[in-house]
Symmetry: C2
């Protein structure tokens, strides 16, 4: 099948690597003018002049990035199947719509307010009780467009720094750890869930994902599966969906979802029987889903800003290196390393060893190192 | 690194799939006029008009097929590193040179003779004692250009049917099973050996490879490693080398070698920590080698001639499908399925189940099913 991918970054690249062995071909459609990692034909089209041409050459369309115009997805959907649907895209790129959907489906979220000016932001912070997190309602990712307010008086400054016309303000969640669940839904409604991951962020960017999340209580896992199942079915979703959650003393609180393969699921490439990339492609092409079980325990280590010494990393027998062919730039995701082990104890040791070769990698600080 | 691959079939395709995540790019150079499965840019050049252009765009050259003119490899080697070396290529495409090398290195082979006409073939069959196998000295693969002589009187007919000006005649080996060992040597001489595979052929074409080879005695494994180590070092080899062997009551007898990634090593894609494809790329680009250990037990099932029902195959949770994007044709390798399991008993059951969906797949007849 010929699959069109909106976007040409590393996620599209890894979708293609997983999809070629299932007899698919790929055409990437880049609207940024700066495709970083496409693998196959890339159509660069900042003004949508060649959209018709792109569509004439593909059977199905998917995307690797949710911050693209919904109108484009809607136009495409009139001619070719788009998975996940434009509705999923619309919800995921608007925090207010997302939180409203979560609420209507019984998925717990932090208490939240909308602020459309600095005064509303101040009032929201005051009502919710600080600290609060203010986020641009649209377009934010990887910690961009966010600010933490320690007191309502910081509202004016935060409003200026985020510089967006609509913010969502969330009560700070006192969480034990950040986790995520990734699930996939087939064209026929078949569902499969990956083991959950524990995620470690630093400066708003994911640094480590450990899977299966250590010491996860079965009822927590059941809750997460119930939440994401509800979302998948409600959105008549096809493909991989990621849901980021906070684990608190009172259970799970949803943070946000992403309508695509997700950085916290990169461990599945060697750490699960079928990777999230292959399962997304299977879903999008109407094929049966693959086994989502874990193979041992694993940790995904992001390579941020600098490649480090590739040779030293490859010398470690338990690492799997995935580079995106991108130039170094501070804060940029350049690749990731999947570290595999037979036990969590061994995993921690291996991850620390591996991180030695990555300049600027933060110390692994997770439930395994704290207990 | 930019890697040039001579040939554009499935082996080159799988090399590229393994090599992109290690920050390599690929250009394929096809001299057949019929590239089947290149992934990346393919230069079709039947008359070597664009060889200079090809070379100007790559840093290193490797190949996926040993039946290409040695002169081309030698010309290339004057401008860019070619791995494995033209000498390895030369030896591997000439059965007489190969057997002579085996002999000089103490690697047992079947007793053999050269025949340059039907009368010499008759005499060889008579001296060696029938049955014998006659093979074209060059260019044969997948059982093509071969004949079995049950008596010396069949020489004239066999000579005509093979239709080649030089044959190698081998005494028939009374073997228990066919096995192979795959090893890789780095640019700095580092060596790594994969667990051996048991191979099941039908009509001269590999159908199944089971790895690690069940019930293999340690001394047999030691012999195989010693043989291939000797070959790798003697040829100052860089990359993956495959050695096919017969296991007999008296130990191993070498059949032939292939200076490339090999069909009997396709199980390594999910069945080993590092695949043969990734290790070949690591070697060719001067990187440290990856861990060659097996993950559980696995069986590679070739898809020959017809794709079968892809949907049914994908529905089996323990299968990994690798299609080459080739059109169906009798006897053509269209893809393979890696079946994984935790025990050989489970593996046999799973392979049989999987083979049900492949039209024309022979019954699995191997050491596991015979004992």
């Amino acid at each position: 099948m010929r699959i069109g991918v909106l976007g040409a970054g590393q996620l599209g690249r890894m979708l293609a690597l997983a999809g070629y062995p299932l007899a698919n071909d790929f055409v990437f459609y880049d609207m940024s003018g700066n495709p970083s990692a496409g693998l196959g034909e890339v159509i660069i089209d900042r003004n949508n002049e060649f959209l018709k041409d792109f569509l004439s050459r593909v059977d199905r369309v998917t995307y690797e990035f949710e911050h693209l115009p919904v109108e484009i997805a809607q136009i495409i959907a009139r001619e070719k199947p788009v998975y996940p649907s434009p509705r999923a895209l619309q919800v995921c790129q608007n925090r207010e719509a997302e939180k409203t959907l979560f609420g209507s489906l019984g998925i717990p979220t932090p208490e939240w307010r909308i602020a459309e000016n600095a005064e509303q932001l101040r009032r929201a912070a005051s009502e919710l009780g600080c600290p609060v997190v203010a986020k641009s309602n649209t377009e934010g990712y990887d910690g961009k467009g966010q600010a933490v307010l320690r007191s309502p008086e910081e509202a004016a400054e935060a409003w200026r720094s985020i510089s967006h016309d609509k913010l969502i303000v969330e009560k700070f969640v006192d969480f034990q750890r950040e986790v995520s669940i990734i699930a996939v839904r087939g064209e026929d409604g078949e569902l499969a869930f990956y083991p959950m991951a524990e995620n470690v962020h630093s400066e708003g960017i994911l640094r480590y994902s450990i899977a299966p999340a250590p010491g996860l209580r079965p009822e927590i896992r059941d809750d997460a599966e119930r939440y994401i199942r509800t979302l998948l079915n409600e959105l008549d979703y096809v493909g991989v969906l990621a849901l980021e959650l906070f684990e608190t003393a009172d259970g799970l609180v949803a943070n946000e979802m992403a309508p695509r393969v997700h950085n916290s699921g990169h461990w599945t490439m060697e750490g699960a029987v079928t990777s999230q990339f292959e399962n997304h492609i299977r879903a999008v092409t109407g094929m049966p889903l693959g086994d989502t079980s874990a193979r041992g325990v694993s940790c995904m280590v992001n390579i941020i800003g600098s490649h480090g010494d590739v040779r030293d990393i490859l010398r470690l027998p338990y690492t799997h290196l995935h580079l995106y062919n991108k130039l170094e730039r501070p804060g940029r995701k350049l690749g990731h390393i999947n570290v595999l082990a037979d036990s969590y104890e061994e995993l921690v040791w291996r991850v620390r060893n591996c991180a030695c070769f990555l300049p600027g990698a933060p110390e692994l600080d997770c439930s395994l190192t704290r207990s």
